[in-house]
């Protein structure tokens, strides 16, 4: 707790511009931002963000009209493997903006709301790498991890059971509908559904929890 407080304090001090001080204010509203990124790889230290999708949940409703989608201009050529996964080709990136601009837009969108996501720590880390450069600080927002929410509500048949936490498995397990292809915004909306559904379920406190 103290450790976290210290880190926040360091982050705050490192802020280049006071414009983003509001990100550090505690959040008292009831809104959440569900967020997903598409990246060139799985290493948050060096891979690049290709696109970001985010949507706001308010009053337990997914405000898809209040959503965010942005494509980032890549520095070099896109890795062929990630083209296969995301189906984003360079020609899709004509509307892409400079990373700095994209990240600033994103920060404006999420403000100091908590962010929710599937393996959100990855998104958090990779976005923080960008924000450190741009505003001088890591992303300060608190996060909510969907896979652990799911795990807590999953009724295991034995304490040794392996709980499959793949995104599609969770969607199927919760009986949620897939909304088209995997892109950042669609995944953010689907993650939001996961969140609402999990929120309505009690945590499982059985023998094998």
């Amino acid at each position: 707790m103290i450790f976290r407080f210290l880190r926040q304090w360091q982050n705050k001090r490192a802020l280049k511009s006071k414009e983003y001080i509001k990100l550090f204010e505690p959040y008292f509203g009831d809104e959440l931002v569900v967020l997903d990124t598409e990246t060139t790889g799985l290493n948050p230290k060096k891979d690049e963000i290709i696109s970001i999708g985010a949507v706001i949940i308010r009053d337990d409703k997914i405000r898809i009209s209040n959503s965010f989608e942005c494509f980032l201009k890549p520095s070099g050529n896109i890795n062929h493997e990630s083209i296969k996964i995301h189906h984003i080709r360079e020609c899709d990136l004509v509307n892409a903006v400079e990373p700095e601009e994209a990240i600033k837009q994103l920060l404006d969108f999420i403000g100091n709301r908590p962010i929710v996501g599937y393996y959100i720590s990855f998104d958090h880390k990779i976005i923080s790498r960008y924000t450190k450069k741009i505003i001088g600080s890591r992303l300060p927002n608190p996060t909510v991890e969907l896979s652990s929410m799911y795990y807590k509500r999953y009724r295991k048949s034995s304490s040794y059971e392996f709980v499959d936490l793949k995104f599609d498995t969770i969607m199927n397990g919760l009986g949620l509908p897939f909304l088209g292809k995997h892109d950042a915004l669609n995944d953010a909306i689907m993650s939001a559904m996961i969140y609402l559904k999990l929120k309505s379920m009690p945590e499982y406190k059985g023998a094998f929890s």
């Binding site: 409703k61 898809i64 009986g175 949620l176 088209g180």
Partner: protein, 605 residues
Amino acid sequence: MSFSDQKEFLKSICPFSDLSDTGLDLAIENIEIGFYAKDSEIIIIGSEASVLYIVIKGEVKTYDEDGNIIRDYHETESFGANALTSNKSQTSCIVTEDLICYELSRKGFIKLLNNSKKFKQFYLMDVVERMNYLKKKETSSDLSSFMVDRVDASYIHEPCIVSSDTLVSVAIKKSVEMKSSSIVVKKGNEYGIVTDSGIKIALAEETLNLASTIDQMAQFPIISVDKEDFLFNVYLLLLQKNIKRVAVRENGEIIGMLEQMDILSYFANNSRLATVKIEKSKTIDELREASMDYISVVKKLHAQGVKARYIAKLISEINLKVFSKLFEMILPENLQKDCALLVMGSEGRGEQILRTDQDNGLIIRDGIETSQYYPYMQKFTEMLISFGYPRCDGNIMVSNPYWCKNEEGYKKEIIHWIEYPDMDSYMHFSIFFDAKCVAGDPELLESIKYIISKKIDTDNEVYMARFAKLTTLFETPVGFFSTLLNQDKKVDIKKAGVFPVVQGTRSLSLQYKIDTLSTVERIKELKSRKILPDSMADELIEVFEVLLYLRLERQIDCVRKGKPINNVIDTELLSRIQRDLFKDSLQIVEQFKKFIVRHFRLENL
């Protein structure tokens, strides 16, 4: 921002599918996604609704104030429109399976109403229009039906019109020049006709006088149709009147002649051929063969999208011809004039499409020995069975002496039915009430029907009420998708839908002495006498049509698979649009039942 996937999804939903691209954008801008766990109450009765719900996944049910299920909603269906447009919800709405749904705000809903006429129609039009809309969607894909083709779509021959004082020789010469097979004779404002066969007959009978004026041999008035009429109805007219051509009018003036052959080209040479073969058959074997063609006729007409009730009408024309022809073949001529052959039940109402059973009877004139008819009637029934008309389970056939009696016998029976009602007698009474005379002396039936109307007049309301109560004999499963009533999601469409409508209208017809037989005609009559409210009558006719159509589909399916014909519809095998139609229909049937209950004050019975 790209919402292409959301848009794709919305686009697959009726009526969003009719929105333009900008309309869809407008929809997306005003939409949110909501999640509701099982058992949440989304809409509270009497409350104001603020959004239109479109189910993405899950199930909700709506309930009336007494807690009765009204209907359920599934994937891609929308609900809450009524509450949105009327400010106060008439129903409550509870989630029965975790629900994920789009929520279109009132503001967005209203914008879309103004954006698209079709969208507006879908939500604001009443059920009749909505059904037509859905049906149009259903048929537009695969059918170019000749039902929608009008007279002027067909080839219309130039008419050979002559004035009434034209000499016969001149008129005939003109028609030869024009290669016309008929001469239209104009006499003042009236028109008559001289056909080629008329001239031939006159020649044969040596009455043809070339020097006389043409109006001497013309038949007045000429039978005509409007150029806006449906071809199919013209075809029925040809069958009924047994003629080969009609005149076509526009604004009252004759603009051409429509020949049977021209209409036939629309019919893939089929239905008319069947009836021609029936008329021309000389032996029972020929007749049997001719009558067997009908299944292909039904399939063809059905595939062409002809309304089930018109197919039924046509098929019953065919059946009547078969019956009367067979009757003439079997019964010696001297016995024919002293009896009346009846078809009863659905056959009498002209609503049987595939031969599901035969209900028939014979009335013999008082004073004539009845037993001499028995052997012939025995043969009649056997022959019909060999023609593919299944035996009637209730043994309501002329071969059964109970249904082969003299007038006195029937009159006694009817009084007995009314005075000692039980299940059988109600059934017999119902079936007899729909009787139609197809051969012999129709007066015999008329006199007995007169007895019924007198008996019901002087006698009691109680009988009428009990008779009407049969309308509610079978449960109509409203919201049938997951109620215990129909766990395997199968519905007997005859019991749940067709029978209540038939019995309800029959009861009202009995009460108000309406003598038409077909259910649709009865409803129309009830409407024109202001017994049924206009809107209910219109809806009921549509509903009856939908039910017959779904039942026919089911029956044809049975025939195709070589199974015995039944009326059980597996709702899971219906297309989404059909399911919507079916659900809406059953709801209206339920309303009609309630109307009957109120009308005959059945609550206390």
